[in-house]
Amino acid sequence: MVNEATIWKLFENIFDPEVPVLSILDLGIVREVHVKSKQEVEIVITPTYSGCPAMDVIGMSIRMALLQEGFTQVQVKQVLSPAWTTDWMSESGKQKLKAYGIAPPNHKQLVCTPDAFQEEEAVQCPHCGSYHTQLVSRFGSTACKALYQCNDCQEPFDYFKCH
């Protein structure tokens, strides 16, 4: 019988469709794995952003992977609380993001307040390592990213925003 440890291992190879260097374990969205019998398994995941369309694809990938392992009843349950935070992203996930050209999230801090025009975070350019960067837009190509530009190497880049 496939045990829970095997399933966790399996999840190392299920990737976020929008940021394909991150596994769902790197993202920290898998909360629980319950093998109920030879046929039946329940997986509990938590969404990153409420409307993130990647969640449906991830749910489907989990289902497919487990069907291949011989399970016939696969339940993928979403829970909202405690709400996902970028602090749950693994250290190796952050390194992979950076190598992929996306600045990894800083630790949750001041930026998560509603105050207008407050001091900006120091975001490091993933290309040249400079902290001399500027916010272009608080919202980027996907729900989880903001758009920055490096003032030194001039490259624009995505920043995985703290959540």
């Binding site: 969404p47 952003y49 409420s50 409307g51 993130c52 829970v79 909202l80 609380s81 405690p82 709400a83 996902w84 998560c112 307040t113 509603p114 105050d115 207008a116 025009f117 272009v136 837009s137 608080r138 919202f139 980027g140 190509s141 729900a143 758009l147 959540h163």
Partner: protein
Amino acid sequence: MHDPLLHYCLFLADSALILGHRNSEWCGHGPVLEQDIALTNIALDLIGQARNLYQYAASIQGGDATEDTLAYLRDERAYKNCLLVELPNGHWGQTVLRQFFFSTYQYYLFQQLINSTDVQLAAIAEKSLKEVTYHVRWSSEWVIRLGDGTEESKQKMEEAVDNLWSYTGELFVPAAYETPGFGVDLNVVQMQWQQKVAAILDEATLALSQQGWMQKGGKEGAHTEHLGYILAEMQSLQRTYPGARW
């Protein structure tokens, strides 16, 4: 009124969905690419919040109800969204001001709702609050930028305040299904909302509106003429091809 919780979920869900839909009308039409993307992101967050709320509402209603039947197969009178969110977008300034009014309301509402005795409502509020925090920041920065901008942008923002103000009162008058409160004291939300709005408008060099008379009815299903058009567009596919799937 059989189930206040169901109606309350629908009110929250409908308000998020309709504003998400309105914002999505800007997709491809924003003043600059980055802000087009920003508003579309906000639309996505709102539609995501609406999905969580509709899923919960469907589980309360039971039977064949799903998030899709609730969004696509209810008529105008069954929709409980506040009137503010169904108003036409107007110009960019009016769209960001509407977002600011609504996001500020959601921000203080959800801050209380995370302590609700209803565990699922609390979870949805906790999740949504993170995104709403970004919405408040983004929209208030725009209100300040445009209000304290050029002569023309200021005048357009003054118009927007006049156009939208009478639709803000409804947010703080509890509908019949809202009276259990679910852990929210609307008087407190109103006080916090007024303080924040006054502070941002002041920084934007815009005057608070002197209008005292307020519109109402949306939360009880009596809408402006605009909602029907939104639903006609949003629901047309499911109404024409019932049960169609991607």
